[in-house]
Amino acid sequence: MDRLYGTYLTSVRQLEVIELGHGIDAIQSARGRVSKDDSLPLVSLQNLTLGYDSEPVLQNVDLMIYPGDLIGLAGPNGSGKTTLFRAILGLLPILSGALSRNCPLSNFGYVPQSAALDAQFPLSTAEVVEMGAYGRIRPYEFFPAAEKKQIGKVLEQVGLRQLAARSFFSLSGGQKQRILIARALMVQPKIMILDEPLSGVDEESRKSISELLVGLTRHSGLAIFFSSHDIPMVRSVADRLLRVDKGRIWWEKKEVEIHP
C-alpha cells in the first residue's frame, strides 16, 4: 500500500503541465515532463483563451511568472481574475493557447477568498494551517513533529502565533487572510497565488498583508501573483501590474517616482 500510494503521489506531484488548449487530456499526456531549469519561468501562458462551456471569458493572455516576481492583477469584479487563477492552478481547462508550469502543482500555494470557505466547519487556526502539509503526509501516518514545528514557524511569519488555538472563523477578515497565507506557506511553495487577499479587511490589515507579501518576495524569492479590484492599491504593492477588463488583459506601465 505504501509503494502504491507513493507512486500515485509522485505522478500527481511531478505533473509538469504543458496545456495546449485540449483540457484534461493535455494534462494527462504531459505527465512526467518536468523541466528542472530554474531560468525558465515558473508559469508561462501563451495566447491563452479561458472560459466556461466553450464561452471565452479572457482572450489572448500572455504571461510569464519568474521566481521573485510580485505581480498584481487588477480589474473589476467579474472580469475574469479568478478564472485566470483557476486555469493556472489546473482547476479549469483552457480553451486554446498554451500553458506550462515549471513546477508541480503541489508547489503552488493558493490563497482563496476567505468568504468562499464554509464557516460551518469547526476548525482551529492551527488545523487550517496544518492542511497545507497534507500533500506531504500519507493517510496512515501520524502528523510528524517537524511539520508541527513548521506550523509554529509559518504562524510566526504572519505574526499570529498566539492565535493557534482560536477558532478560525471567529477571527477578523485580516487575520483570516493572514492565516490562509500561512497555510499556503506551509505548502512550501515556489509560487503563491492570492485571490483578493485585501478585500474585506481594514486599513491596518491591508498594510500588514501588503508588507508581508513584499517581504516574502524579497527575502525568500517566492513568486507572488495576487488579484484585487482596488487598482490604486495593487499599483502601490506590485512590481508589475496586469489589468483585466471586458475580456481583455494587458500590462500597465508602472510610473517611477523620481525624487530630487
Binding site: 503541489s106 466547519f121 469547526p122 492542511m131 497545507g132 497534507y134 503526509i137 493517510p139
Partner: protein
C-alpha cells in the same frame, strides 16, 4: 428492575444488544459529522430509507419464489437487499448530481418519498409474513444475536479504521476542494471512499438497528457536539462520546421504562442538542458544574435500586377466606392464542373445519400458573365460573371488579389480572404490561397490587409459544417473590 451496573455485566441477557448499540453510537457520528459539514445531511435520511426498500424487496422476492431460501436466515437475505439498494441508490444520486439534474434537496426528497412508498408496497405485495418483515424493518437491535454482533463489530470496525486513517483526506476534500486537488490530485477518490464507508454502515446498520435509530446516531450526536467545539478533532471525538452516551442512557431508559429503543435513543439525542445549545449560552465554569451535577444525578438514577413491592398477604392473615381467581382479561386487542402443536389440527383450522377454541391462550397459561402459585401459598382457590358459567374476565379497575363480584353474589377475596401488552417479537424475550390485584369484595379494599411492565427474558425458548409459556411462569414467580 435492572440497574445501570446490571446492564453493563456481560452475563446480562441483552448485553449483545447494548454492545451493538454502543458500536453504532461510537462510529455513526463520525460519518454523520461529515454529512452535516458537507450539507448532505438528507443523504443520511434518504439512504437508510432506500436500504429499507431493499430489505422489503428481497423479502417479497423470496416469498414469490424468485429467490431461493437461504440458510443464513432472514437478516442475511435482508442485508443483501439493503446493500444492493443502498449502492444502487448512491450511484443513481451521484449520477444525477454530476449531470446536475434538478436541485440536490429535491432529488433527495423525491428519492426518500419513493423509497418509503416502495418499502410499504413491497410489504403489501408480500403474501405472507407481513409482521415479520415489519419487525425486521423496525430493526430491533435489542434482538441482536452474538453472531450478528460479531458481524456488526467487524463491519463498523473497518469503517472506524477507514474514518481514522483517511480523516485528513476527508477533511480536506470536504472543506477546500481546490487545496485538495493541488495537494492530493483528483478528489473524487476520497469522495467515493467516504460515501462507500457511509453506504456500508447504513446498509448493515438498517437491517440490524432500523432506519430510525441509524439516522438518529448519524446526525444527532454530531449536531449536539457542533456548538460546543472549536476544532475538527474535538468535534469528531465529542460526537463519538455523545453517541456513546446516547447509546448507553437510551438503552438503559428503554429497558428500565419498557420503551422501544429507537424512539427512546432519538428523543435522548434531541435532548442532547437542546442541552448543548443551552450550555453554550452559559459560562464554561457553570457549564462544567452543570455537566458534573447532571452526570451525578444520572448515575444515581441508574445505579439506584427500586423500592421492593409489598409482599402478598399470607393466607392465614386473611382468615382463610375463599379466593376467587378471575379469568385473566385480555386488553391487548390481539387473540394471544398459542400456536398448535398438532399439524393436522392446524391444517383443519386453516381449512375452516374446526375453530381455534381448542388452542390454549396466554390468559389460560397465566391463570393456571397463578392458581398453582396461590395454592402453594395456602390460599383456598375457587373459580367464579363454577358458580355461574356466564362470569366474564374481571377488569383491573377495582370498583368495576367489586361491582361485578357482588352482582355474581361472590364473597371473600378476588384476584384479578389484566394484560395490556403481550408481544413475543423475538424468541429471546416477551414484552409484557399487565396488572394484578387482590381485592376484598365486602369493602372493596385493595389488599395487594402489582404492575409488570418489562421485557421478560426467555433464553431457552425455541418458538414464540414456548417464549409465552416461559414468560408466564417467570412473571408469576416474580409477582410473589418481589
Amino acid at each position: 428492575m435492572s440497574t445501570f451496573l446490571e446492564i453493563l455485566s456481560p452475563s446480562y441477557l441483552l448485553f449483545p444488544a447494548l454492545v451493538g448499540t454502543a458500536i453504532l453510537g461510537l462510529v455513526c457520528p463520525l460519518i454523520g459529522s461529515y454529512l452535516i459539514l458537507r450539507r448532505t445531511v438528507f443523504l443520511g435520511l434518504t439512504l437508510p430509507q432506500i436500504a429499507a426498500a431493499g430489505v422489503s424487496f428481497t423479502f417479497w422476492l423470496q416469498q414469490t419464489g424468485f429467490l431461493l431460501q437461504w440458510e443464513q436466515g432472514e437478516r442475511g437475505i435482508g442485508m443483501i437487499g439493503s446493500l444492493v439498494f443502498t449502492f444502487l441508490g448512491m450511484g443513481l444520486l451521484g449520477y444525477l448530481e454530476q449531470r446536475r439534474k434538478g436541485i440536490a434537496e429535491g432529488r433527495l426528497a423525491a428519492a426518500y418519498a419513493l423509497a418509503g412508498a416502495l418499502t410499504i408496497l413491497f410489504i403489501v405485495f408480500n403474501p405472507a409474513g407481513q409482521i415479520e418483515v415489519l419487525n425486521l424493518l423496525k430493526g430491533e437491535v435489542i434482538a441482536l444475536s452474538k453472531g450478528e454482533l460479531r458481524l456488526l463489530a467487524a463491519v463498523f470496525g473497518l469503517v472506524l479504521m477507514g474514518m481514522l486513517l483517511f480523516r485528513r483526506e476527508f477533511l480536506l476534500t470536504s472543506f477546500d476542494r481546490d487545496l485538495a486537488f493541488l495537494s492530493k490530485g483528483r478528489q473524487i477518490i476520497w469522495d467515493v471512499l467516504l460515501y462507500l464507508l457511509a453506504g456500508v454502515s447504513i446498509a448493515v446498520g438498517v437491517i440490524l438497528a432500523g432506519p430510525l435509530l441509524l439516522f438518529g446516531f448519524l446526525v444527532l450526536p454530531a449536531l449536539a457536539a457542533r456548538p460546543l467545539v472549536n476544532s475538527m478533532s474535538s468535534f469528531l471525538w465529542l460526537s463519538s462520546v455523545l453517541g456513546l452516551a446516547m447509546a448507553f442512557f437510551g438503552f438503559y431508559s428503554s429497558v428500565r421504562l419498557d420503551l422501544p429503543l429507537g424512539p427512546t435513543d432519538v428523543a435522548l439525542g434531541c435532548c442532547l442538542i437542546f442541552l448543548a445549545y443551552a450550555l453554550r449560552r452559559i459560562s464554561p465554569k457553570r457549564a462544567l458544574a452543570l455537566i458534573v451535577l447532571s452526570s451525578f444525578a444520572l448515575w444515581s438514577y441508574g445505579c439506584g435500586t427500586t423500592t421492593p413491592a409489598a409482599p402478598l398477604p399470607e393466607a392465614k392473615a386473611l382468615s382463610n377466606e375463599t379466593l376467587w381467581l378471575a379469568k385473566v382479561k385480555n386488553s391487548t386487542g390481539l387473540s394471544l392464542l398459542l400456536p398448535s402443536n398438532n399439524p393436522l389440527r392446524s391444517l383443519a383450522e386453516m381449512a375452516g373445519k374446526i375453530s381455534s377454541d381448542y388452542r390454549q391462550s396466554v390468559m389460560d397459561l397465566l391463570r393456571e400458573d397463578l392458581r398453582r402459585e396461590l395454592e402453594q401459598r395456602g390460599f383456598r382457590i375457587d373459580l367464579p365460573e363454577k358458580t355461574d358459567a356466564r362470569f366474564p374476565a374481571f377488569p383491573a379497575d377495582s370498583g368495576g371488579a367489586v361491582r361485578l363480584a357482588r352482582e355474581g353474589k361472590l364473597s371473600g377475596l378476588i384476584f384479578i389480572s389484566e394484560i395490556w401488552r403481550w408481544e413475543a417479537d423475538s424468541r429471546q424475550f416477551v414484552r409484557v404490561f399487565a396488572d394484578f390485584k387482590l381485592i376484598r369484595i365486602d369493602d372493596g379494599t385493595v389488599l395487594w397490587e402489582r404492575r409488570i411492565q418489562r421485557a421478560v427474558p426467555t433464553p431457552s425458548a425455541t418458538n414464540s409459544g414456548q417464549a409465552s409459556t416461559d414468560a408466564a411462569t417467570a412473571i408469576v414467580h416474580d409477582l410473589f417473590t418481589g
